[in-house]
Every structure is written in C-alpha cells, then in structure tokens.
C-alpha cells in the first residue's frame, strides 16, 4: 500500500503551517462577527434600521453615519447589520429545509434503489423542469410576501441539489462493507440508514450546505430585484443592493457596501466549506 500512502502524502503537501491558520482565522472570524452582530443587533445601540431622514438620503459615510445613508436616508450600518439577520435567516434556513426534504428523498433513493429511486429521480426531474419563477411568484402572490414564504420558496428550490448530493453519497456508502455487514446481521433498514449511513452523509451535506447558503443569499437578492423578496422595510443585503443599484453613479456606496459585505461573507463561507470538506471527506482529505 505504499503507493497510496505516498499518494495522500504527496498531495497533503501544501504550504507551511502558519498560513494554514491565517486562512482559517480570517473567514471564521468574519462569519462569527456577522452572526454575532446579527443576533445582538437589538442590543448594541444601533439606530432603527427603518428610521428615515429623507433630507439626508444617499449621504456618503461620515462620523454620524459610519457607512452613509441609503435612498430613504436610513443608516446603512444599521441596515447592513439587520440585513445580515434577514439574509442569514433565509440563507441558513432555506437550504436547511431543502436538505431535510431533499436529503430524505436522496437517501431513500440511494438506499432502496429500484422503484423508490425511480420515483425520487422523477420527482427531482419535475422539480428541476418546473420554472422556479412560477414557484416564486406563486408564493409571493398567493401566500403573500414574508420572510417565511421567501425562505420556503427558496427552500423548495434547493431540494433537487440536496437530493442529488445525498443520493450520490448514499449510493457510495450503501455498498461499503460495514453497511453490508450490518445487513447480514439483520439490522433494520431504519437502523442502517440512521446509524450507518446518515453519520457519513452529514459531513458532505454540511460542506454543501455552507456553499448553498451563499447561493441562497444572492438568490434572495434576485427575488428582491423582481419585487418578490422580503417585504420592505425589512432590510436584506440583496434588497439593499437592488435599491442601491439605482444610484450607482451618484451614490455608489449604497450598492457597493452591501455588495462588499456579501462578498466577504460568501468568500468566508466557501473557505470554511472547503476546510470542512477537507477535514471530513477522506477521499479529498488530501486537498
């Protein structure tokens, strides 16, 4: 086995240790900061994110308004932080919802195969072929626009991807010796799925989830642009960019600041996602 041992060591070679920690500290630090601020937004003395001072609209950053004001003269800093709350709720919950449903579908498909697999694949096909616009519009028009409905709509849209990931991984794990062993000693399907397969499924799903968060945060922005996002005046990063876009030339900060915050967060999420993948996926541990 010396060849494969060499293989993993060969690629394990990256940079010296110090840099590794740097790469970990910055994105993790940023994410923790964002989450912390989003949670404590109410208690850190921020101005009301929907308090308007129309006369002071679209003012550049200053001592009074650290990040300037938006199109209705509201404090950008406060809106960014409260927006983090919205964006994170949508970004975290929507893929989570997708993963609960999609994960279950993918797991049963990958484990039971046969007809169930066919059904699941068919279901995913239908969901994928179904125009997401129709779905999003329906939710917002019929059920009304709300944080919950937007999250639900985006959650449903993330089902197929989650189902694919979980199905592929289940397929891979279901044939492993330890699963076969569990079967031969008569373990129930339920037990095998929950005890043998699920634990192995969680790491790749978690890594994928981290990436999904950033995709969903941006997707919420697209919905806001089409007027289907979180209803005003609740701020979200995507919505702020959509609002700020209108004054890109006269007050670029109204769009660029939320865009920069979103960039930093997406970047951090992906770095952390990579690291999680590296830590938990033996096949890629060498990355």
């Amino acid at each position: 086995m010396s060849a494969s041992a060499a293989k993993s060591t060969v690629v394990a070679a990256t940079r010296p240790r110090r840099r590794w920690h740097w790469a970990l500290a910055l994105p993790l630090g940023w994410l923790l900061l964002v989450v912390f601020l989003a949670i404590t937004a109410d208690w850190i003395g921020l101005p009301d994110p929907s308090a308007q001072e129309l006369i002071l609209r679209r003012k550049p950053p200053s001592a009074e308004y650290l990040l300037g004001t938006d199109n209705l003269g509201r404090d950008m800093l406060s809106r960014i932080i409260y927006g983090a709350r919205t964006s994170l709720i949508v970004g975290i919950c929507a893929p989570f919802l997708g993963f609960l449903v999609g994960g279950a579908i993918g797991m049963s498909a990958g484990y039971f195969r046969g007809k169930i697999d066919l059904l699941a694949v068919g279901f995913i096909d239908i969901l994928l072929a179904f125009p997401s616009l129709v779905l999003a519009l329906t939710f917002t028009a019929y059920l009304g626009q709300s944080l919950f409905n937007v999250t639900l709509a985006l959650g449903i849209l993330s089902i197929p991807a989650a189902a694919r990931v979980s199905r592929a991984n289940t397929l891979a794990w279901a044939n492993r010796d330890f699963v076969l062993a569990a079967r031969t000693i008569g373990a129930s399907n339920w037990r095998i799925i929950t005890r043998e397969i699920l634990p192995n499924l969680l790491p790749p799903m978690f890594a994928f989830w981290l990436v999904a968060i950033s995709v969903i945060i941006v997707a919420e922005g697209a919905l806001s642009f089409l007027g289907l996002g979180i209803p005003a005046p609740q701020p979200s990063w995507g919505g702020m960019i959509a609002d700020g876009r209108e004054a890109l030339d006269v007050a670029p900060h109204t769009a660029l600041i939320p865009a920069a915050v979103m960039f930093a967060t997406v970047l951090s999420l992906n770095f952390v996602g990579d690291m999680v993948r590296n830590m938990v996926d033996p096949r890629r541990s060498a990355l």
């Binding site: 086995m1 010396s2 060849a3 041992a5 060499a6 060591t9 060969v10 690629v11 394990a12 070679a13 990256t14 940079r15 010296p16 240790r17 590794w20 590296n278």
Partner: protein, 327 residues
C-alpha cells in the same frame, strides 16, 4: 560492476508539509545502480520507497509542494539540474515506469493503443500510424493475444493481468535504459503475479535494461534483484547483495523481515513471526533510531542518537547493534 553507474543517487531527501506538520518521507538515501542490474527496494508501507523513486524521476517535486533535496545522476547528468524540457526527454526516452495498480495507472477514457503510442510519438518521433503499428507489436511482445483488437479497447475491457501487461508495454515502449517497477504485482491475483514478474525479468534481460523493483515482499525481490536496499521510516537501513542479505542480515529490522517470510524448509506448523508495534508516524519523529521502539536489541543510545550508515565494502547498514558482526 564496472565504469560509471547508470543511476547514482546521493543523499536524496523528500519532505512534506501536512496539516499535522512537516514530515520527512525520505531522509538521506544514497545508492548506485549499474547498467543492466536490478535493485530491489524493500520496506513496509510508508517506509518511503515509492516516494523515493518518484522523487528521482520528478513525479514528486517542488512544484507539487514537496521539499526535495540531494543529487540524482543519470548517465552522469544531474537530473535535478536539467531544464524541465530536457528532463522530460530523459524521463520519456530512458526511464520506464510500471505502477502498482493497473486499474488506476491506465487512463480509463483513452484507448490502449493510443496510450502506448503516446510516448513513442513524443519521444521517438513516430507518426500516428507508425506508433499504432508499434503499439500492436509491443502488445504482442508482452503476451497479449489478439493485440490488434485489444489496442482499440479501453482499459476497463481488460482483465487485471492483461492491464499490467499493457502497463509494461507502455513502460518499455521507448526502449528505456532504466525500468522502475513500483510494486508491480501487489494489486494482482496471486496466479498472475508470477507471470508478470517473469515478463518483467525477461524484458529486462533481453533489453539489457537496469531495473528498480520496489516491493514490500522480500520474497519477490529474492530471486530477481542483484542488490537489495531495505528502507525504514524514510531511511535506507540496510543495503547489500541479495544473497548476502538473505544469508546474514545486519539490521535487526531486516532480520525481522526475513523471519516473517515463509520458507519451504520450515516445518509445516512453524509460526511466522510478525514484527511487533507499528511503523512510526513520520510527522511525530523525535531523534534516535526510528526502529528503536520495535527493536528487541534497543538500548538507550538507540533512543537518543540517529545511527549513521556504516559501510562494509559494498554493503551498508545503519544500526548500533548490527547482527552477525562483532562490534
């Protein structure tokens, strides 16, 4: 054993940076290989034998993130000092490689004929047609029936033994001066292992190639290598003519390896002895002899000091308590 050696390795070192810290996979290995000779490199998994040879032919290099040191002379030329293009020329033309697992060492999405012809076109300047013809010849030579049809197939359509034959055909395609066989039979069925080893040996003799045969099985090296180098934890712990090594190993590790080999002369129920303990974690090395924790002759000196290589003519060892020597 006359004239300048075909391959001369001095103080080869390979280091990696891993998540757990830097490690020395190969630590100061030196050896010479004469034309037409066979060197067996023997060691457990992780002893650094594969990394060593891969580093010699540039498959482990600075650009893949490793730290590579030492000197490698091939026909008197310093391979590590050669410009990349010239080095690749030497590699393709004069050195052939066979890897352990033919399942993974052949490109699954490329037809066999093309994989063989590729090196010929690049290094011997053959055109596509000539390369294809030559590929079929080579397939016949390594004992593949219906060579013409096989050349148009993909690796997954062949059996394991056949695939390894294809791998050998690729390795010898450009008539190299040195053939490196990295555990060429480990992944194969026992029944075909011997055929493959015989094929390698035959080709080596007929073509007058030198060969480095890497194996964890002393028995494989026994009948086929002129010299044997035993590696442990990245170091060459013993080096000797095959016969001498088998007759009187110096290093306790070699001794232990030999003891774990079944012999026809043993009584049927002799217990094979296993080496207690496990190979050391290279990233957690302290000073001292790496084998010390598993060695039955260990003294405090072994824990504190790294033994240097001692030479007795052509054979060398690195041990404070060599066997068969009255030190």
């Amino acid at each position: 054993m006359s004239g300048a050696p075909l391959l001369s390795v001095r103080e080869a070192r390979v280091g990696f940076f891993t998540a757990r810290g830097p490690l020395r996979a190969v630590d100061g290995v030196s050896f010479d290989l004469q034309k037409g000779q066979t060197l067996g490199i023997v060691g457990e998994s992780g002893s650094g034998k594969s990394v060593l040879v891969r580093s010699l032919i540039g498959l482990v290099s600075e650009s893949s993130g490793a730290e590579v040191g030492g000197q490698v002379l091939f026909e008197g030329r310093d391979l590590r000092a050669l410009p990349a293009r010239e080095f690749r020329g030497v590699l393709g033309r004069d050195i052939g490689v066979v890897f352990q697992d033919p399942m993974t060492s052949l490109n699954p999405v490329m037809k066999i004929g093309r994989q063989i012809g590729e090196g010929l076109r690049l290094n011997r300047g053959l055109d596509a047609k000539a390369a294809a013809v030559r590929a079929v010849e080579l397939l016949t030579e390594v004992g593949i029936p219906e060579a013409e049809r096989r050349a148009g197939q993909y690796p997954h359509e062949l059996s394991g033994g056949m695939r390894q034959r294809v791998a050998i055909a690729i390795a010898i395609a450009c008539a190299p001066k040195l053939l490196i066989a990295d555990e060429p039979t480990t992944a194969l069925d026992v029944t075909v292992q011997r055929q493959i080893l015989d094929l390698l040996q035959r080709e080596q003799r007929e073509r007058g190639m030198a060969m480095i045969l890497i194996t964890h099985d002393l028995g494989v090296a026994a009948g086929r290598a002129d010299d044997i180098m035993v590696m442990y934890a990245g170091r060459a712990v013993e080096m000797a003519k095959t016969r001498e090594l088998f007759r009187s190993p110096r290093m306790p590790y070699t001794e232990a390896l030999l003891r774990s080999l079944p012999r026809l002369t043993d009584p049927t129920h002799t217990r094979l002895s296993a080496i207690p303990g496990r190979p050391p974690d290279l990233a957690r090395r302290s000073g001292g002899c790496a084998f010390a924790p598993r060695c039955s002759y260990r003294t405090t000196r072994c824990d504190e000091e790294q033994p240097v290589q001692t030479w007795e003519g052509a054979r060398g060892y690195a041990c404070f308590h060599p066997r068969g020597v009255n030190a």
